[in-house]
Subunit: 267 residues, 3 copies
């Protein structure tokens, strides 16, 4: 999804080594936290310590978070577990997203904290499953998942949207990503960000976000514009134009910092 | 609520024909989806197929969505069903809102998808019941409903606010509509939109939105201003002034496109 | 937290007299509402009338709102009750927050309405408990609470953030307050407000909000800037600079009304 040459992305390829290493660390964290806070021991046991893999723990946790009185947690657990189990690329994306939160968000204190508590992380993992269902033409189930994610996490991602690996949705409340949007690898998106439509009735109408882009809180990007690799979009901006790689856009409507003709490019 | 002459609105009058036609179509969609996705058959049965009318299905679904451990689903189901059953105008509004989502949102694939999954649609239907309770001076119950809608859908509509028919809250997260606001027929409101107060201590202090207005994502309209019929409010704008009919306002603070004296009017 | 001399704040000191007076009023309101709306009598009994103190009622209500299938309501009830019971300053803050909603929000019709229905009020009370846990180095539990508050109320307050007394989060959806933020007494914050980081990797990086500040809907304040006592921040502004006391800042990026050199100061 990069628009230009880029520095090598962080672990975009599936790697079971990463997966087992991160999972071992999560279990160690959970055991330490359970010891320090006995009141949470049974919570940590049921969500993490009792499980034999990251996929099982994540599927259990997502099933409990997204279920309702009519959409049962057991149905969702089976759906998530079957999907993660059969697709190493999905599991690699989960690991990359965990690493993105752990190393790019200064408020993230552990992998298990992200796994259990980050609504942005959980929303993306559930979206990845919804996206796979969408590609298999199981549209009704995909959209039911989208709806539950929107209810529970206040994050609304159309199941057709394509999301790269190592993506951080920080705080996450209010993020809306439309049907034909594409988000690259190692993108950071703050809360209240919209990747929205141009008003066209159908077809390609949402933004394409390059690798390594940072989108500030409350930014609204509309239409099939291209945000180049490593660009930065200021908080509260309204972006209706292409933004070149490694360039900053700010304001409502957004202008390129340094001027439209000769924008300032990060080193 | 129109400020001027307008093109004929889409089905603003109660019509039991529309209601039964849409309900037949919803049941047919649910049966087709249950066949294509057996894992969801029991979900579709309990939410749609088992019911004998749109009001019953909607009341059951809203009761389950909005209940809590202390505000029981059976209480809410009875409340919704009694209110919808006794008021054909409310049922006509539901049908108009379903049609608004189905025909104005390119991501809406069926009536049943909207009925089950659109938090904006569900929030408005519950608000219509809260509004009726408010008019009957059952304020405490009306405000309890408002609070549950705000918790569950992140949509906060004061029960006194008057909302027209055929209204689409697209994505819906973060919409806030104040006590003395009025929203016309066939209005489309994107997520994070505020129809807020002017800071006055009480009395008339919120916007009046004309028929057919489109309000973009993140727009904030404050005070008892009048947004004329068919006007368009740009994403992320801050509107503190009247906007004439069929005129576009953009920016923070918003200006009329084409200039304040001679604004450009659509066709 | 005041930046300058100020008018005497409203009841910032613990006062058991205020507490028992407000609690008596809440019970009287609940009995009156239960009589007027028999369908809600058992709801009002279980949430208010059955309890012997404001702390018990609040702890019961928060436990039910914030629990999940794995984080049990009984655990949360005990946690809240033990914390409120042992800390008169926390109880005084609760009373000051109830009074802030009751007397500063024209849509608030009673103390019990605020106690049961205001997600902003409930989010702050739960945050005060999370903050105390954070100071006791019980970080994992504090962050688990933060996460539940973010899921249930769409309000994301880092447990390390320091929040004064008499604070009103009006509508509240989408409020985000970062780790090193400080909010003074008698501050009013509308929905979608961000007190966010400057992009620094760690350390002091969030705003300091003086006593009596009003922050409009959708305002974003970034970095360790100082918003002086009694200042007003306009809706939808992006604030990256210090704002002097009793001064208004508006726009994206925000400018001081009256000019940067000679800003207009309120009376």
């Amino acid at each position: 999804m990069a628009v230009e040459n880029s520095t090598p992305p962080v672990s975009p390829s599936p790697s079971s080594e990463h997966e087992s290493g991160v999972w071992s660390q999560i279990k160690a964290e959970a055991r330490r936290d359970a010891e320090a806070e006995p009141a949470l021991a049974s919570y940590l046991f049921s969500t993490i310590i009792a499980h034999t893999s990251l996929s099982r723990s994540l599927s259990f946790h997502l099933g409990n978070k997204l279920c309702s009185s009519t959409l049962l947690s057991t149905l969702l657990y089976d759906l998530f577990l079957n999907t993660f189990s059969s697709d190493p690329a999905l599991r690699a994306a989960t690991v990359a997203d965990l690493r993105a939160a752990r190393f790019r968000d200064p408020a993230c204190i552990s992998f298990s904290h992200c796994l259990l508590n980050y609504k942005g992380f959980l929303a993306i993992q559930a979206h990845r499953v919804a996206h796979k269902l969408w590609l298999q033409n199981r549209k009704f189930l995909a959209m039911s998942l989208q709806s539950r994610i929107a209810d529970v996490f206040a994050v609304d991602i159309h199941p057709a949207a394509r999301i790269g690996n190592g993506v951080l949705l920080d705080h996450a409340t209010g993020v809306v990503i439309g049907e034909t949007a594409v988000v690259g690898n190692n993108v950071s998106i703050l809360h209240h960000v919209t990747l929205g439509g141009s008003g066209k009735v159908g077809g390609d109408r949402h933004p394409k976000i390059g690798d390594g882009v940072l989108i500030g809180a409350g930014a609204t990007i509309l239409g099939p514009v291209k945000i180049g690799e490593g660009a930065k979009i200021g908080s509260g901006s309204l972006v209706l134009i292409d933004v070149p790689p490694r360039t900053t856009a700010v304001g409502n409507p957004a202008r390129l910092v340094g001027g439209r003709e000769k924008p300032t490019v990060h080193e």
